[in-house]
Amino acid sequence: MRMSRWILDTPLQLEPLLAETEDPASGALVIFYGTVRNENDGQPVHSMTYEAHATLAEKVLAEIEQEALERFGVRRCRIQHRIGTLQLGETSVLIVVRAAHRDAAYRASRYAIDAIKQRAPIWKEEHYISGESRYLDGVPLQQKDIE
């Protein structure tokens, strides 16, 4: 377990990210939170454990931030992902994008969360009310995605 700019084992906080990304030339701010919800495929969920290959995940999240800036011309992009066991409603991923205009901000935010789900070496294990746990099926990592 460790703390970094991208992977944290403590609750994710919006305020520091807003302060870090403050920008008078931005007119649009889009924030995405992924949160633990109370059911999946009809099974009542109790909690969720997230595990990451932390050093590689940090590299990938930093790359995705950079791609968002370059591809969409947004002015700020910050991503944080939490690891450890999260209760219902807690935030697993937080993305802050600021841009001059809203179109780029929405597109970059959406790009970032989609890329995280495809490329970040992070795994989740769902714990159900029933007492059972299950690793969710995921997306195979591709070498080209990361190098």
Binding site: H53, P121, W123, Y135, G138, L141, Q142, Q143
Partner: protein, 82 residues
């Protein structure tokens, strides 16, 4: 040569361990060779390794990547973050 192997996600559960050590007399082991050694040691991996990526020292590498003594090889199953 020694290779430090780390299992992530469900692989940790499958093999029943977070890490494993590979200790070999000869050098020149590729990631492909390592996968074979691991399958021999943990038969449960046979049905898993198709979707698994290997990262060596924080970079995802190809099957023909040549491991060096002391490398850490991480086995990364399909991801489900976000």
């Amino acid at each position: 040569m020694k290779i430090h192997v780390v299992f992530y996600g469900r692989l940790k559960q499958d093999v029943g361990a977070k890490t494993a050590e590979i200790d070999l007399a000869q050098d020149g082991l590729t990631v492909h060779d390592l996968a074979g050694l691991l399958e021999a040691r943990y038969p449960v991996l046979r049905e898993r390794l198709g979707g698994v990526a290997f990262a060596v020292n924080d970079t995802i590498v190809a099957d023909d990547y040549c491991l060096r003594d002391g490398d850490e090889a991480a086995l990364l199953p399909p991801v489900s973050g976000g």
